[in-house]
Protein backbone atom coordinates (compact mmCIF):
# COMPACT_ATOMS: atom_id res chain seq x y z
CA UNK A 1 0.00 0.00 0.00
CA UNK A 2 1.92 3.03 -1.14
CA UNK A 3 1.52 5.78 -3.67
CA UNK A 4 4.40 8.20 -3.91
CA UNK A 5 4.02 11.72 -5.26
CA UNK A 6 6.79 14.14 -6.09
CA UNK A 7 7.93 16.60 -3.45
CA UNK A 8 5.27 19.35 -3.36
CA UNK A 9 6.01 23.04 -3.08
CA UNK A 10 4.78 24.63 0.17
CA UNK A 11 1.56 26.59 0.10
CA UNK A 12 0.16 24.90 -2.96
CA UNK A 13 -2.71 22.65 -3.84
CA UNK A 14 -1.52 19.36 -5.27
CA UNK A 15 -3.43 16.50 -6.78
CA UNK A 16 -3.31 13.40 -4.60
CA UNK A 17 -6.00 11.17 -6.09
CA UNK A 18 -8.96 10.97 -8.39
CA UNK A 19 -12.43 10.71 -6.91
CA UNK A 20 -12.75 7.40 -8.75
CA UNK A 21 -9.91 5.91 -6.74
CA UNK A 22 -12.01 6.28 -3.59
CA UNK A 23 -15.13 4.92 -5.26
CA UNK A 24 -15.00 1.49 -3.64
CA UNK A 25 -16.77 -0.33 -0.79
CA UNK A 26 -14.02 0.73 1.64
CA UNK A 27 -13.11 4.26 0.55
CA UNK A 28 -9.56 4.52 1.89
CA UNK A 29 -6.17 4.77 0.20
CA UNK A 30 -2.63 5.49 1.40
CA UNK A 31 -1.06 8.72 0.17
CA UNK A 32 2.56 9.86 0.42
CA UNK A 33 3.04 13.62 0.12
CA UNK A 34 6.73 14.48 0.03
CA UNK A 35 8.09 12.63 3.06
CA UNK A 36 4.72 12.54 4.85
CA UNK A 37 2.94 9.20 5.00
CA UNK A 38 -0.81 9.79 5.09
CA UNK A 39 -4.15 8.03 4.75
CA UNK A 40 -7.09 9.42 2.76
CA UNK A 41 -10.59 8.24 3.58
CA UNK A 42 -14.24 9.19 3.14
CA UNK A 43 -16.40 9.12 6.26
CA UNK A 44 -20.08 8.20 6.55
CA UNK A 45 -21.09 11.83 5.93
CA UNK A 46 -19.31 11.66 2.58
CA UNK A 47 -16.56 14.02 3.73
CA UNK A 48 -12.88 13.42 3.10
CA UNK A 49 -10.17 13.14 5.71
CA UNK A 50 -6.42 13.19 4.95
CA UNK A 51 -4.55 12.38 8.16
CA UNK A 52 -1.25 10.94 9.38
CA UNK A 53 -0.82 7.25 8.61
CA UNK A 54 0.56 6.16 12.00
CA UNK A 55 -1.65 5.93 15.06
CA UNK A 56 -0.37 8.45 17.66
CA UNK A 57 -0.65 5.76 20.35
CA UNK A 58 2.10 3.29 19.39
CA UNK A 59 2.47 3.86 15.66
CA UNK A 60 0.25 1.19 14.09
CA UNK A 61 -0.57 1.63 10.39
CA UNK A 62 -3.99 3.27 10.03
CA UNK A 63 -4.22 2.25 6.35
CA UNK A 64 -5.54 -1.04 7.72
CA UNK A 65 -7.92 0.76 10.06
CA UNK A 66 -11.58 -0.04 10.50
CA UNK A 67 -13.67 2.49 8.59
CA UNK A 68 -16.62 2.72 10.97
CA UNK A 69 -18.61 5.06 13.23
CA UNK A 70 -18.04 7.98 10.84
CA UNK A 71 -14.28 7.84 11.18
CA UNK A 72 -11.24 5.60 11.19
CA UNK A 73 -10.52 3.18 14.05
CA UNK A 74 -7.07 1.72 14.73
CA UNK A 75 -7.24 -2.10 14.90
CA UNK A 76 -4.52 -2.22 17.56
CA UNK A 77 -6.43 -0.73 20.55
CA UNK A 78 -9.56 0.75 18.98
CA UNK A 79 -8.52 4.40 19.15
CA UNK A 80 -11.01 6.23 16.92
CA UNK A 81 -10.29 9.34 14.81
CA UNK A 82 -12.60 11.67 12.92
CA UNK A 83 -11.79 13.22 9.54
CA UNK A 84 -9.97 16.14 11.17
CA UNK A 85 -7.56 13.73 12.87
CA UNK A 86 -9.04 14.35 16.31
CA UNK A 87 -9.14 11.30 18.55
CA UNK A 88 -12.71 10.80 19.73
CA UNK A 89 -12.50 7.49 21.63
CA UNK A 90 -9.95 5.27 23.43
CA UNK A 91 -11.98 2.20 24.35
CA UNK A 92 -9.19 0.43 26.28
CA UNK A 93 -8.54 3.39 28.58
CA UNK A 94 -10.40 3.57 31.91
CA UNK A 95 -14.04 4.72 31.94
CA UNK A 96 -14.19 8.49 32.15
CA UNK A 97 -10.65 9.02 30.84
CA UNK A 98 -10.34 12.37 29.07
CA UNK A 99 -6.96 11.58 27.51
CA UNK A 100 -8.45 11.30 24.02
CA UNK A 101 -9.20 15.03 23.93
CA UNK A 102 -5.48 15.83 23.79
CA UNK A 103 -4.72 13.29 21.03
CA UNK A 104 -4.73 14.34 17.40
CA UNK A 105 -3.25 12.95 14.21
CA UNK A 106 -1.81 15.57 11.79
CA UNK A 107 -4.48 16.62 9.27
CA UNK A 108 -3.93 18.03 5.76
CA UNK A 109 -6.72 20.14 4.18
CA UNK A 110 -8.28 18.54 1.12
CA UNK A 111 -10.67 19.68 -1.57
CA UNK A 112 -12.70 17.67 -4.07
CA UNK A 113 -13.87 18.83 -7.49
CA UNK A 114 -13.71 18.07 -11.17
CA UNK A 115 -13.20 14.39 -10.41
CA UNK A 116 -10.03 15.18 -8.45
CA UNK A 117 -8.93 15.24 -4.84
CA UNK A 118 -6.39 17.94 -3.97
CA UNK A 119 -4.36 18.48 -0.81
CA UNK A 120 -3.01 21.78 0.52
CA UNK A 121 0.70 21.71 1.29
CA UNK A 122 1.02 24.95 3.25
CA UNK A 123 0.87 25.56 6.97
CA UNK A 124 -2.54 26.29 8.42
CA UNK A 125 -5.72 26.79 6.46
CA UNK A 126 -5.53 27.56 2.73
CA UNK A 127 -6.20 31.21 1.82
CA UNK A 128 -8.48 30.31 -1.06
CA UNK A 129 -10.14 27.23 -2.52
CA UNK A 130 -8.26 25.59 -5.38
CA UNK A 131 -8.87 26.26 -9.05
CA UNK A 132 -9.75 22.75 -10.18
CA UNK A 133 -9.59 23.73 -13.86
CA UNK A 134 -5.81 24.11 -13.45
CA UNK A 135 -5.65 20.38 -12.76
CA UNK A 136 -8.29 19.23 -15.20
CA UNK A 137 -5.79 17.86 -17.72
CA UNK A 138 -4.76 15.37 -15.09
CA UNK A 139 -8.15 13.70 -15.12
CA UNK A 140 -7.85 12.53 -18.69
CA UNK A 141 -4.21 11.58 -18.10
Amino acid sequence: MSETLSEPQPGQWVRIATVAELDRPRPLIPVTLGNRRLVLFRDEEGQLGLIGRHCPHRGADLCFGRLEDNGLRCPFHGWHFDRTGQCVEQPAEPEGSQMYKAIRVPMIPVAEGGGLILAYTGDGEPAAPPDFTAFSDDVAG
Binding site: P56, R58, G59, F64, P75, H77, A92, P94
Partner: protein, 408 residues
Amino acid sequence: MISKELNEQITHIGPGTDAGAVLRRYWQPAALSDELDGRTRVPVNLLGERLVLMRDDTGVLVLATRQAREDEPAVSYPDEDDIVVVPDGPVYPVSERKGMIFAWLGPGAPPEFPNFDCFRAPDSHVFAFKGLWECNWLQALEIGIDPAHASFLHRFLQDEDPDDSYGKQFRDKAADLDMPMTRVLREYPRPDIAVEETDFGLKITALRHLNGGLTHVRVTNQIFPEAICIPMSREMTITQWHVPVDDETCYWYSLFTSFDKPVDKPLMRAQRLKEHRLPDYAPLKNRDNDYCYDPDEQARVTYTGMGLDINVHDQWAVEGMGAIQDRTQEHLGRSDVAIIRYRRMLRQAIAALHDNREDALPMRGSGDPTAIVGPLSNDAIAETADWAAASTRTDLARRAACPWDATV
Protein backbone atom coordinates in the same frame (compact mmCIF):
# COMPACT_ATOMS: atom_id res chain seq x y z
CA MET B 1 6.97 10.18 24.07
CA ILE B 2 10.68 9.71 24.54
CA SER B 3 13.66 11.41 22.95
CA LYS B 4 15.29 10.15 19.77
CA GLU B 5 18.48 9.46 21.74
CA LEU B 6 16.68 7.35 24.34
CA ASN B 7 14.77 5.47 21.65
CA GLU B 8 18.07 4.56 19.99
CA GLN B 9 19.63 3.58 23.32
CA ILE B 10 16.88 1.09 24.19
CA THR B 11 16.47 -0.39 20.68
CA HIS B 12 19.94 -0.72 19.10
CA ILE B 13 21.61 -4.05 19.86
CA GLY B 14 24.83 -4.46 17.88
CA PRO B 15 28.19 -5.05 19.58
CA GLY B 16 29.08 -2.08 21.79
CA THR B 17 25.51 -0.76 22.19
CA ASP B 18 23.79 -0.25 25.55
CA ALA B 19 20.75 -2.47 24.98
CA GLY B 20 22.97 -4.97 23.17
CA ALA B 21 25.14 -5.21 26.26
CA VAL B 22 22.08 -6.01 28.40
CA LEU B 23 20.84 -8.72 26.02
CA ARG B 24 24.32 -10.27 25.94
CA ARG B 25 24.07 -10.91 29.71
CA TYR B 26 21.38 -13.55 29.02
CA TRP B 27 21.15 -16.79 27.02
CA GLN B 28 19.76 -16.03 23.56
CA PRO B 29 17.78 -18.43 21.34
CA ALA B 30 19.93 -18.90 18.24
CA ALA B 31 18.27 -21.71 16.24
CA LEU B 32 15.71 -24.51 16.40
CA SER B 33 17.09 -28.03 16.71
CA ASP B 34 14.96 -28.82 13.63
CA GLU B 35 17.23 -26.54 11.58
CA LEU B 36 20.10 -28.99 12.07
CA ASP B 37 18.13 -31.89 10.58
CA GLY B 38 19.94 -32.88 7.39
CA ARG B 39 22.44 -30.04 7.67
CA THR B 40 25.87 -29.87 9.23
CA ARG B 41 26.13 -26.05 9.16
CA VAL B 42 23.27 -23.67 9.96
CA PRO B 43 23.70 -19.93 9.48
CA VAL B 44 22.74 -17.92 12.57
CA ASN B 45 22.08 -14.18 12.31
CA LEU B 46 21.95 -12.94 15.88
CA LEU B 47 22.39 -9.57 17.62
CA GLY B 48 23.98 -8.05 14.53
CA GLU B 49 26.56 -10.87 14.32
CA ARG B 50 27.06 -13.39 11.48
CA LEU B 51 27.49 -16.84 12.96
CA VAL B 52 27.32 -20.50 12.02
CA LEU B 53 26.09 -23.39 14.13
CA MET B 54 27.89 -26.69 13.54
CA ARG B 55 28.21 -30.14 15.08
CA ASP B 56 31.81 -31.19 15.44
CA ASP B 57 32.99 -34.78 14.91
CA THR B 58 31.99 -35.73 18.44
CA GLY B 59 28.47 -34.36 18.04
CA VAL B 60 29.12 -31.29 20.17
CA LEU B 61 27.49 -28.05 18.99
CA VAL B 62 29.78 -25.15 18.13
CA LEU B 63 28.71 -21.57 17.36
CA ALA B 64 31.42 -19.74 15.46
CA THR B 65 31.70 -16.56 13.43
CA ARG B 66 31.25 -16.89 9.66
CA GLN B 67 32.40 -14.70 6.82
CA ALA B 68 29.74 -12.38 5.42
CA ARG B 69 29.69 -9.58 2.88
CA GLU B 70 28.94 -6.09 4.18
CA ASP B 71 25.76 -5.99 2.09
CA GLU B 72 24.46 -9.41 3.11
CA PRO B 73 20.73 -9.12 3.86
CA ALA B 74 19.65 -9.18 7.51
CA VAL B 75 18.24 -12.67 7.22
CA SER B 76 20.69 -14.58 5.11
CA TYR B 77 20.61 -18.35 4.83
CA PRO B 78 23.53 -19.37 2.60
CA ASP B 79 23.97 -22.98 1.50
CA GLU B 80 26.11 -24.89 3.93
CA ASP B 81 28.83 -25.39 1.32
CA ASP B 82 29.13 -21.59 0.98
CA ILE B 83 29.61 -20.97 4.70
CA VAL B 84 33.17 -20.09 5.64
CA VAL B 85 34.20 -19.90 9.29
CA VAL B 86 36.33 -16.92 10.34
CA PRO B 87 39.39 -18.76 11.72
CA ASP B 88 40.10 -16.47 14.67
CA GLY B 89 36.58 -15.10 15.08
CA PRO B 90 34.56 -15.32 18.29
CA VAL B 91 33.23 -18.77 19.25
CA TYR B 92 30.31 -18.78 21.65
CA PRO B 93 29.00 -21.34 24.17
CA VAL B 94 25.71 -23.02 23.26
CA SER B 95 23.16 -25.12 25.13
CA GLU B 96 20.39 -27.19 23.54
CA ARG B 97 17.12 -27.12 25.47
CA LYS B 98 13.70 -28.42 24.44
CA GLY B 99 14.27 -28.18 20.70
CA MET B 100 15.96 -24.79 20.88
CA ILE B 101 19.64 -23.95 20.79
CA PHE B 102 20.60 -21.10 23.08
CA ALA B 103 23.80 -19.09 22.68
CA TRP B 104 25.86 -17.09 25.14
CA LEU B 105 27.27 -13.99 23.43
CA GLY B 106 28.22 -12.22 26.62
CA PRO B 107 31.44 -11.80 28.56
CA GLY B 108 32.49 -14.29 31.23
CA ALA B 109 31.09 -17.70 32.02
CA PRO B 110 27.42 -18.27 31.14
CA PRO B 111 25.00 -18.59 34.06
CA GLU B 112 22.73 -21.53 34.85
CA PHE B 113 19.28 -21.52 33.24
CA PRO B 114 16.37 -20.59 35.53
CA ASN B 115 14.00 -23.45 36.28
CA PHE B 116 11.09 -22.05 34.29
CA ASP B 117 8.33 -24.53 33.43
CA CYS B 118 9.39 -24.60 29.76
CA PHE B 119 12.81 -25.93 30.82
CA ARG B 120 11.57 -28.27 33.56
CA ALA B 121 8.96 -30.06 31.48
CA PRO B 122 10.12 -33.21 29.69
CA ASP B 123 10.87 -32.94 25.97
CA SER B 124 7.58 -34.71 25.21
CA HIS B 125 5.68 -31.76 26.71
CA VAL B 126 7.48 -28.87 24.98
CA PHE B 127 7.26 -27.82 21.33
CA ALA B 128 9.59 -25.22 19.80
CA PHE B 129 8.97 -22.98 16.80
CA LYS B 130 10.05 -19.58 15.49
CA GLY B 131 9.02 -16.90 13.02
CA LEU B 132 10.52 -13.83 11.42
CA TRP B 133 9.26 -10.29 11.98
CA GLU B 134 10.69 -7.40 10.03
CA CYS B 135 11.01 -4.86 12.81
CA ASN B 136 13.02 -4.03 15.90
CA TRP B 137 12.90 -6.51 18.78
CA LEU B 138 11.58 -4.00 21.36
CA GLN B 139 8.27 -3.25 19.64
CA ALA B 140 7.90 -7.02 19.17
CA LEU B 141 8.36 -7.51 22.90
CA GLU B 142 6.14 -4.59 23.88
CA ILE B 143 3.05 -6.01 22.17
CA GLY B 144 3.49 -9.07 24.39
CA ILE B 145 3.31 -7.06 27.61
CA ASP B 146 0.20 -5.13 26.56
CA PRO B 147 -2.84 -7.03 27.87
CA ALA B 148 -5.38 -4.60 26.40
CA HIS B 149 -4.62 -5.16 22.73
CA ALA B 150 -6.08 -8.68 22.73
CA SER B 151 -9.58 -7.20 23.08
CA PHE B 152 -9.17 -5.31 19.81
CA LEU B 153 -6.40 -6.64 17.57
CA HIS B 154 -7.38 -10.28 18.19
CA ARG B 155 -11.13 -9.66 18.33
CA PHE B 156 -13.22 -12.27 16.59
CA LEU B 157 -16.63 -10.99 15.66
CA GLN B 158 -17.97 -14.54 16.06
CA ASP B 159 -16.87 -17.33 18.43
CA GLU B 160 -15.40 -20.60 17.16
CA ASP B 161 -16.13 -23.93 18.80
CA PRO B 162 -13.48 -24.27 21.54
CA ASP B 163 -13.26 -28.01 20.79
CA ASP B 164 -11.50 -27.06 17.52
CA SER B 165 -8.99 -24.95 19.40
CA TYR B 166 -6.02 -27.27 19.89
CA GLY B 167 -2.71 -25.47 19.48
CA LYS B 168 -4.27 -22.03 18.96
CA GLN B 169 -4.24 -18.92 21.15
CA PHE B 170 -7.43 -17.49 22.71
CA ARG B 171 -9.76 -20.20 21.33
CA ASP B 172 -10.23 -22.13 24.55
CA LYS B 173 -12.96 -21.56 27.07
CA ALA B 174 -11.87 -19.35 29.90
CA ALA B 175 -11.08 -21.58 32.86
CA ASP B 176 -14.11 -22.49 35.00
CA LEU B 177 -16.54 -20.57 32.81
CA ASP B 178 -18.61 -21.74 29.91
CA MET B 179 -17.65 -18.69 27.88
CA PRO B 180 -15.14 -18.72 25.02
CA MET B 181 -12.08 -16.54 25.64
CA THR B 182 -12.89 -14.72 22.41
CA ARG B 183 -16.15 -13.51 23.98
CA VAL B 184 -14.52 -12.45 27.26
CA LEU B 185 -11.98 -10.39 25.33
CA ARG B 186 -14.57 -8.87 23.00
CA GLU B 187 -17.13 -7.89 25.59
CA TYR B 188 -14.73 -6.58 28.26
CA PRO B 189 -12.18 -4.36 26.50
CA ARG B 190 -11.02 -2.19 29.43
CA PRO B 191 -8.95 -4.41 31.72
CA ASP B 192 -7.57 -3.12 34.98
CA ILE B 193 -3.85 -3.83 34.66
CA ALA B 194 -1.51 -4.30 37.63
CA VAL B 195 2.25 -4.78 37.27
CA GLU B 196 4.65 -6.14 39.91
CA GLU B 197 8.40 -6.48 39.66
CA THR B 198 9.59 -10.05 40.31
CA ASP B 199 12.97 -11.73 40.49
CA PHE B 200 12.69 -12.65 36.78
CA GLY B 201 11.03 -9.51 35.39
CA LEU B 202 7.39 -8.46 35.63
CA LYS B 203 4.14 -10.15 36.62
CA ILE B 204 1.29 -8.54 34.70
CA THR B 205 -2.27 -9.08 35.93
CA ALA B 206 -5.22 -8.05 33.74
CA LEU B 207 -8.63 -8.03 35.43
CA ARG B 208 -11.82 -8.02 33.41
CA HIS B 209 -14.84 -7.53 35.66
CA LEU B 210 -17.69 -9.58 34.20
CA ASN B 211 -21.39 -9.45 34.91
CA GLY B 212 -22.69 -11.26 37.98
CA GLY B 213 -19.89 -10.31 40.40
CA LEU B 214 -17.27 -12.37 38.57
CA THR B 215 -13.81 -11.33 37.45
CA HIS B 216 -11.63 -12.80 34.74
CA VAL B 217 -7.97 -12.82 35.83
CA ARG B 218 -5.28 -13.21 33.18
CA VAL B 219 -1.68 -13.38 34.39
CA THR B 220 1.14 -12.90 31.89
CA ASN B 221 4.82 -12.27 32.49
CA GLN B 222 7.80 -10.39 31.19
CA ILE B 223 10.96 -12.46 31.59
CA PHE B 224 13.94 -10.13 31.45
CA PRO B 225 15.25 -9.04 29.07
CA GLU B 226 13.26 -10.01 25.98
CA ALA B 227 10.87 -12.88 26.71
CA ILE B 228 7.27 -13.27 27.79
CA CYS B 229 5.39 -16.17 29.37
CA ILE B 230 1.65 -16.21 28.65
CA PRO B 231 -1.22 -18.69 28.81
CA MET B 232 -2.29 -20.20 25.49
CA SER B 233 -5.03 -22.54 26.65
CA ARG B 234 -5.94 -24.32 29.86
CA GLU B 235 -3.41 -26.98 28.86
CA MET B 236 -0.50 -24.94 27.51
CA THR B 237 1.61 -21.85 28.06
CA ILE B 238 3.83 -20.02 25.60
CA THR B 239 7.29 -18.79 26.57
CA GLN B 240 8.41 -16.51 23.76
CA TRP B 241 11.67 -14.65 23.16
CA HIS B 242 11.92 -11.69 20.78
CA VAL B 243 15.45 -12.13 19.54
CA PRO B 244 17.18 -9.45 17.45
CA VAL B 245 18.69 -10.46 14.12
CA ASP B 246 19.81 -6.85 13.73
CA ASP B 247 18.26 -3.50 14.72
CA GLU B 248 15.44 -3.83 12.17
CA THR B 249 14.68 -7.55 12.14
CA CYS B 250 13.88 -10.12 14.82
CA TYR B 251 12.72 -13.67 15.35
CA TRP B 252 10.14 -14.81 17.85
CA TYR B 253 11.16 -18.13 19.39
CA SER B 254 8.47 -19.96 21.32
CA LEU B 255 8.40 -22.91 23.68
CA PHE B 256 4.85 -24.25 23.95
CA THR B 257 4.64 -26.11 27.27
CA SER B 258 1.91 -28.60 28.13
CA PHE B 259 0.84 -29.18 31.73
CA ASP B 260 -1.29 -32.16 30.71
CA LYS B 261 -0.87 -34.42 27.66
CA PRO B 262 2.34 -34.69 25.62
CA VAL B 263 2.32 -32.03 22.92
CA ASP B 264 1.12 -33.20 19.50
CA LYS B 265 4.29 -31.87 17.85
CA PRO B 266 3.53 -32.99 14.27
CA LEU B 267 0.18 -31.16 14.43
CA MET B 268 1.66 -28.05 16.06
CA ARG B 269 4.45 -27.96 13.51
CA ALA B 270 2.16 -28.55 10.53
CA GLN B 271 -0.19 -25.76 11.70
CA ARG B 272 2.73 -23.33 11.77
CA LEU B 273 4.57 -24.53 8.65
CA LYS B 274 1.41 -23.77 6.69
CA GLU B 275 1.98 -20.11 7.63
CA HIS B 276 5.79 -19.97 7.18
CA ARG B 277 8.40 -20.79 4.56
CA LEU B 278 11.70 -22.55 5.13
CA PRO B 279 14.57 -22.25 5.70
CA ASP B 280 14.25 -18.74 7.17
CA TYR B 281 10.82 -19.17 8.84
CA ALA B 282 9.51 -16.01 7.16
CA PRO B 283 5.71 -15.72 7.39
CA LEU B 284 3.78 -16.20 4.15
CA LYS B 285 1.51 -13.29 5.06
CA ASN B 286 3.68 -10.22 5.23
CA ARG B 287 4.10 -6.56 4.33
CA ASP B 288 4.68 -7.37 0.66
CA ASN B 289 1.22 -8.91 0.25
CA ASP B 290 -0.53 -6.57 2.73
CA TYR B 291 -0.88 -9.55 5.10
CA CYS B 292 -3.59 -10.84 2.71
CA TYR B 293 -5.81 -8.07 4.08
CA ASP B 294 -9.47 -8.54 3.14
CA PRO B 295 -11.78 -5.59 3.92
CA ASP B 296 -14.85 -7.82 3.70
CA GLU B 297 -13.42 -10.19 6.31
CA GLN B 298 -12.57 -7.14 8.46
CA ALA B 299 -16.20 -6.07 8.31
CA ARG B 300 -17.62 -9.50 9.21
CA VAL B 301 -15.16 -11.88 10.89
CA THR B 302 -11.96 -10.41 12.34
CA TYR B 303 -10.91 -6.98 13.59
CA THR B 304 -7.93 -6.83 11.20
CA GLY B 305 -9.18 -8.61 8.07
CA MET B 306 -5.98 -10.65 8.13
CA GLY B 307 -7.24 -14.13 8.93
CA LEU B 308 -7.61 -16.15 12.10
CA ASP B 309 -3.93 -16.55 13.02
CA ILE B 310 -3.24 -14.11 15.84
CA ASN B 311 0.49 -14.20 15.06
CA VAL B 312 -0.27 -12.38 11.81
CA HIS B 313 -2.22 -9.70 13.69
CA ASP B 314 0.72 -9.10 16.01
CA GLN B 315 3.13 -9.12 13.08
CA TRP B 316 1.07 -6.48 11.22
CA ALA B 317 0.84 -4.29 14.33
CA VAL B 318 4.58 -4.27 15.02
CA GLU B 319 5.86 -4.22 11.43
CA GLY B 320 3.46 -1.42 10.53
CA MET B 321 5.14 0.84 13.10
CA GLY B 322 8.21 0.96 10.84
CA ALA B 323 11.57 -0.77 11.16
CA ILE B 324 12.16 0.91 14.52
CA GLN B 325 9.06 2.46 16.07
CA ASP B 326 9.44 6.25 16.28
CA ARG B 327 8.74 6.60 19.98
CA THR B 328 9.19 10.40 19.77
CA GLN B 329 5.63 10.38 18.34
CA GLU B 330 3.95 7.90 20.70
CA HIS B 331 1.33 8.65 23.37
CA LEU B 332 1.23 5.92 25.99
CA GLY B 333 -1.96 5.45 28.01
CA ARG B 334 -2.98 3.61 31.15
CA SER B 335 -3.18 0.38 29.14
CA ASP B 336 0.58 0.67 28.54
CA VAL B 337 1.57 0.47 32.20
CA ALA B 338 3.64 -2.71 31.77
CA ILE B 339 5.53 -1.22 28.83
CA ILE B 340 6.41 1.81 30.94
CA ARG B 341 7.63 -0.40 33.78
CA TYR B 342 9.63 -2.59 31.42
CA ARG B 343 11.43 0.36 29.85
CA ARG B 344 12.35 1.56 33.33
CA MET B 345 13.86 -1.88 34.11
CA LEU B 346 15.80 -1.86 30.84
CA ARG B 347 17.17 1.64 31.55
CA GLN B 348 18.14 0.56 35.07
CA ALA B 349 19.98 -2.43 33.62
CA ILE B 350 21.81 -0.19 31.13
CA ALA B 351 22.79 2.17 33.96
CA ALA B 352 23.96 -0.75 36.12
CA LEU B 353 26.24 -2.03 33.34
CA HIS B 354 27.66 1.48 32.91
CA ASP B 355 28.58 1.29 36.60
CA ASN B 356 29.98 -2.25 36.30
CA ARG B 357 27.16 -3.57 38.51
CA GLU B 358 26.21 -6.61 36.44
CA ASP B 359 24.87 -8.26 39.58
CA ALA B 360 22.10 -5.63 39.73
CA LEU B 361 20.49 -7.15 36.60
CA PRO B 362 17.46 -9.45 37.08
CA MET B 363 18.55 -13.08 37.62
CA ARG B 364 22.25 -12.06 37.47
CA GLY B 365 22.77 -11.42 41.18
CA SER B 366 24.16 -13.73 43.82
CA GLY B 367 20.97 -15.80 44.00
CA ASP B 368 20.78 -19.26 42.42
CA PRO B 369 18.99 -18.96 39.03
CA THR B 370 17.84 -22.57 39.29
CA ALA B 371 15.78 -21.60 42.35
CA ILE B 372 13.56 -19.48 40.09
CA VAL B 373 10.45 -21.51 39.14
CA GLY B 374 7.13 -20.85 37.43
CA PRO B 375 6.08 -18.31 36.42
CA LEU B 376 2.37 -18.40 37.15
CA SER B 377 0.76 -17.90 33.77
CA ASN B 378 -2.94 -18.58 33.45
CA ASP B 379 -6.55 -17.48 33.09
CA ALA B 380 -9.00 -17.83 35.93
CA ILE B 381 -12.56 -16.78 36.69
CA ALA B 382 -13.46 -15.94 40.26
CA GLU B 383 -15.83 -14.12 42.54
CA THR B 384 -14.50 -10.59 42.25
CA ALA B 385 -13.48 -10.39 45.92
CA ASP B 386 -11.55 -13.65 45.60
CA TRP B 387 -9.68 -13.10 42.32
CA ALA B 388 -6.14 -13.07 43.71
CA ALA B 389 -6.52 -16.29 45.69
CA ALA B 390 -8.43 -17.92 42.84
CA SER B 391 -5.62 -17.18 40.39
CA THR B 392 -3.08 -18.90 42.66
CA ARG B 393 -5.50 -21.78 43.37
CA THR B 394 -6.08 -22.41 39.65
CA ASP B 395 -2.32 -22.44 39.06
CA LEU B 396 -1.64 -24.83 41.94
CA ALA B 397 -4.42 -27.17 40.84
CA ARG B 398 -2.94 -27.38 37.34
CA ARG B 399 0.51 -28.00 38.79
CA ALA B 400 -0.79 -30.67 41.16
CA ALA B 401 -2.41 -32.57 38.29
CA CYS B 402 0.59 -32.14 35.98
CA PRO B 403 2.29 -35.43 34.93
CA TRP B 404 5.77 -33.87 35.31
CA ASP B 405 7.07 -32.10 38.42
CA ALA B 406 5.64 -28.61 38.13
CA THR B 407 5.56 -27.91 41.85
CA VAL B 408 6.46 -24.42 43.00
